[in-house]
């Protein structure tokens, strides 16, 4: 059944919203997966409530999944929706603000009865309002039609109703001229053994597709042609999954086993769950009794010869602070991942924010410098987890890697990496047969200042370490005042010297000129898109940081090439404070947002144009 009128689009944003039990995450993931499979570039953004099942039909219980697909490269999940699929009145209410007039809204009219819109907080039917005439509204009795389509196959009522998300997906597949094979394969894999449920889902999907084809409300369908991405084999990855794989890859590459000690916390839990699946690589995942035990077990494992990793979010990082100090003192290879969420306290657990930067940099007692890195996109999580491990093992040191809810839950087509193409990892450790007599526990490599890691089981290298200050050479406990100062300076210098081993800052856009956009971590895609969209004739560059402490060596030189520097971050101004103290010779303007939401391209371009006009 070919679509006759197909219009080509450069890119399109589709958002699926419904009750948290409506299966919107799955529906969105399927649309994204199918599109990626067709060769589109994609970016996705799930948006769900903290409660697993908030009251049905209320705005608090709305769960959404936004998918941006494109022929050209896509760096963000998009600001506004071209198509909104709303499964009930509450979902409609929560998301209509982000649909520009003239765009398409598909609603399940079965969930827009009086009781539904009243529950959503409307005093009159929103589908009958004057405002709705500004949109291309597609009214579909999705629940009723799903029931009709599945009549007589023997499925219970509840399961029938649950298949309505597939009906909605069918509509969208027709609208964007997507084949259904990808989802059919997925459903077979998921429900293979439950034949009736499988049949129900497949039937609902097809029924939705045919419904869309038949009705007049959708006069034509659209397509987004494959993108011009780099040649190669791709798959879709989620940020947290890629983080876990980065660690597994580092373990295989270095020959050092991975130990992950963690305590579940949103939005970091997926990393623990992913590593737990891969015991076959010898990776040891350990669900500890709390965050402190998580990091402590990882430190113990690092002492005993593993790559120690612990994963958490802001509140967990706070709990790990004292143990991080121990890792700094004992200089052991440890990576701590903080998948940031809205804070303080429990804050906004399912929303994104970049507000743990200062905690990562400074949140410990004593002079306790640490290497701090950040990941900028779902696919980049793989590279940064790998690099954080490489630095931890080669410099025998703890590293903090900052991710965030937006990156962690987002997905992206990822060009599959080959292990052979990844850089080597050479742990700085004592080998069997080294001269034990000459070994001093805190003797350092003259370039990197790393101490050599000697692990239990190695005869002749027995030694004791701990949190008490130690002699600069032997590592024995030392209360000597001068020695303490020397050690404080050495630990700082050891971190600073990592700058000699990390890539330089990659300046994108204009190489010199008017405005330098500065960002770090998960805001990369939006900053890049906004930078590209700035008009006004100014020369605009983007300096995006994934290595934060130490800063890349060419940072000051890059900064000096621009008239104006704007530091954009999803917090109240943390990176800017750090830059002001590290590179005080420049002046910075901050652009901040703390709403638990990512930046929109629009607000950024607006800001950048304003700055350029004022120059």
């Amino acid at each position: 059944m070919e679509n006759t009128k197909i219009k080509e689009l450069e890119k399109v944003v589709v958002k699926f919203v419904g009750d948290s039990g409506d299966g919107m995450q799955l529906t969105g993931t399927q649309f994204a997966g199918t599109s990626a499979f067709l060769g589109n570039d994609i970016a996705t953004f799930p948006d769900y409530p903290a409660e697993i099942r908030a009251p049905q039909g209320t705005v608090a219980g709305v769960s959404g999944f936004q998918v941006h697909i494109g022929k050209s490269q896509i760096h963000t999940p998009g600001d506004t929706s071209d198509v909104l699929v709303a499964m009930n009145a509450a979902a409609f209410k929560a998301h209509i603000y982000n649909v520009p007039k003239g765009n398409t809204i598909i609603v399940d009219t079965d969930s827009f009865k009086r009781k539904d819109w009243e529950k959503a907080g409307y005093s009159e039917d929103p589908l009958e309002s004057d405002d709705i005439k500004n949109y291309n509204l597609v009214k579909a009795p999705i629940t009723t039609m799903t029931k009709k389509a599945l009549e007589g196959i023997g499925l219970d009522n509840k399961s029938i109703t649950r298949s309505k998300n597939m009906f909605a997906l069918g509509i969208v597949y027709w609208l964007f001229n997507r084949p259904m094979d990808y989802t059919k394969r997925f459903l077979k894999g998921k429900f293979g053994k439950k034949e009736m449920v499988l049949e129900g889902n497949l039937k609902a999907l097809k029924a939705g597709y045919h419904f869309a084809e038949t009705i007049e409300a959708l006069p034509s369908s659209f397509t987004v042609l494959p993108s011009d991405m780099e040649k190669g084999t791709y798959k879709s990855v989620m940020g947290n999954e890629a983080t876990a794989w980065g660690f597994l890859a580092a373990a295989e590459k270095s020959g050092v086993q991975l130990f992950l000690g963690s305590y579940p916390i949103t939005p970091a839990t997926d990393i623990l769950q992913e590593v737990a699946k891969h015991r076959h690589f010898g990776a040891k995942s350990f669900q500890a009794e709390d965050e402190i035990a998580g990091i402590s077990s990882a430190i113990g494992a690092a002492f005993a010869g593993n790559l120690g990793v612990t994963t958490t979010s802001g509140p967990g990082l706070a709990l790990k602070a004292e143990a991080l100090g121990l890792a700094i003192m004992t200089e052991l290879p440890l990576v701590v991942v903080d998948v940031q969420r809205g804070g303080p306290s429990t804050g906004l657990p399912t929303k994104t924010e970049q507000s743990d930067l200062l905690q990562a940099l400074y949140g410990r007692n004593g002079e306790s410098p640490l290497i701090v890195m950040a990941t900028k996109s779902p696919g980049d999580c793989f590279d940064m987890a790998f690099m954080a491990s490489k630095i931890a093992l080669e410099h025998v040191t703890p590293v903090i890697l900052l991710s965030d809810g937006y990156v962690a839950n987002g997905s992206q087509p990822w060009k599959i990496k080959k292990m052979a193409d990844l850089p080597a990892i050479n742990p700085f450790m004592v080998q069997e047969g080294d001269n034990a007599e000459a070994y001093e526990v805190y003797q350092r490599d003259e370039n990197s200042l790393s101490r050599k890691w000697a692990i239990p089981g190695t005869a002749g290298f027995e030694h004791r370490i701990g949190g008490l200050e130690k002699d600069a050479l032997t590592g024995n406990v030392s209360y000597d005042p001068e020695n303490h100062e020397e050690m404080v300076k050495t630990r700082e210098e050891k971190v600073a010297r990592v700058a000699n081993y990390i890539p330089e800052l990659d300046l994108q856009g204009a190489q010199e000129g008017d405005l330098l956009i500065v960002g770090w971590g998960g805001t990369y895609g939006t900053l890049l898109t906004a930078g590209e969209e700035v008009k006004g004739g100014g020369k605009v560059g983007l300096a995006h940081f994934t290595y934060i402490k130490p800063l890349p060596k060419n940072t000051a030189e890059v900064f000096s090439r621009f008239k104006k520097i704007v530091v954009c971050e999803l917090n109240n101004g943390q990176f800017i404070k750090y830059l002001q103290s590290e590179l005080p010779q420049f002046s910075y303007e901050g652009y901040n947002k703390v709403q638990g939401l990512p930046f929109s391209t629009n607000e950024l371009t607006h800001k950048f144009n304003q700055i350029l006009n004022d120059l």
């Binding site: 035990a293 402590s296 430190i299 002492f303 599959i416 080959k418 030694h463």
Partner: protein, 337 residues
């Protein structure tokens, strides 16, 4: 004590070059000596032995052992020791802890280590006081006891470490007094042999801040009368003249004299350390007079680390991912030409 040592070590081979810095007369010295005496017997080469501790006077211990050692942070040693053991199950891992370190700040890690049954040996130096911070009451300080933070007498209910441990599903619990060097060494060897978490509570005298806190039991004149050393399979007999024993009456253990009121040795309860049910073991740990020492419970259960290794072997044999490249290219993939 003659096992088969891999190398003929002597106790002094386990002494490090660091000067021991406890107060003169501190019970920790005797414990250190006893551990050094036990080490040559456990049949493990030096490089495979790791001592992990938290913070406290007692936790300085690893510095004095010529093995691998890790003096960590207050209360967290069970988690660190767990990480060490899971990373390398071939190691013999010993955790040194105090009553504050294990039962106050580290209480959570302590109970979870016992519950999991990781194969580590925990030596709990119970002096019923915070030594390092100079004399505050601890979670084992008796009600009414005067300390720097309880000048009018403690109003805090104490834990009995053995009772807590059994509740947390400890499968090995032993108790011993610091004035009994031979007894300590024997029990440390027993703890090492047990596969799973072994907890040894050592009644340790802090001469400076809580001197003679166990004198009721340890004083020369009374110790034979007031301590009962149990041994698996042997009747619970004690006393200078070995004429006292325990019988079970209802839900309680009662002290009787053999030969009096027709009581014979056959009436005395025979110790069963291997019994799954904790009832008898609980009665023994809670008994105050006499205080029970020796191996009170020793039950074989599979250790957490063994389960972990088995699981790894199992999935290794069945997985479709032999290398990382298999995983990286798994799932739905597509080509961009």
């Amino acid at each position: 004590m003659s096992e088969n040592p891999v190398i003929e070590y002597k106790a002094k081979d386990f002494a490090s070059d660091q000067e021991v810095r406890w107060c003169p007369g501190c019970g920790d010295y005797a414990i250190l000596k006893a551990v050094q005496k036990a080490m040559p017997v456990i049949g493990v080469v030096k490089e495979d032995i790791v001592f992990v501790s938290g913070i406290g006077c007692s936790s300085r211990f690893p510095y004095y052992m010529d093995t691998y050692g890790f003096h960590s942070i207050h209360g967290r040693a069970p988690a660190i020791a767990t990480g060490v053991k899971l990373a390398n199950p071939d190691l013999s891992v010993w955790q040194i802890t105090g009553d504050g370190d294990a039962l106050a700040i580290g209480g959570n890690h302590f109970i979870h280590a016992l519950r999991r049954n990781v194969d580590i040996n925990i030596l709990l130096f119970n002096n019923r006081i915070y030594g390092l911070t100079k004399g505050q009451f601890s979670p084992t300080t008796s009600l009414g006891h005067k300390t720097k933070t309880s000048p009018q007498g403690s109003i805090d209910n104490p834990f009995n470490p053995g009772e807590l441990a059994l509740g947390a599903r400890a499968q090995f619990f032993a108790r011993i007094e610091d004035i009994n060097p031979r007894g300590m060494a024997e029990i440390f060897v027993e703890a090492a042999k047990h596969k799973g978490t072994s907890l040894v509570e050592i009644l340790q005298n802090c001469v400076i801040f809580n001197d003679k806190v166990f004198a009721e039991w340890t004083a020369k004149e009374v110790k034979a009368e007031n301590f009962l050393r149990v041994e698996h399979g042997k009747p619970m007999i004690f006393g200078k003249d070995q004429n006292k024993g325990l019988i079970q009456k209802g839900f309680k253990l009662e002290v009787v004299e053999i030969g009096l009121d027709g009581v014979t040795e056959d009436d005395i309860v025979v110790h069963d350390a291997h019994e799954e049910d904790i009832t008898l073991h609980l009665m023994l740990v809670n008994l105050q007079m006499p205080m029970v020492t020796g191996v009170i419970r020793s039950v074989k259960h599979e250790s957490f680390n063994d389960r972990m290794e088995e699981q790894i072997d199992h999935v290794r044999a069945t997985t479709k991912y032999k290398t990382m490249d298999d995983l990286l290219s798994s799932g739905e993939t597509w080509e961009i030409e």
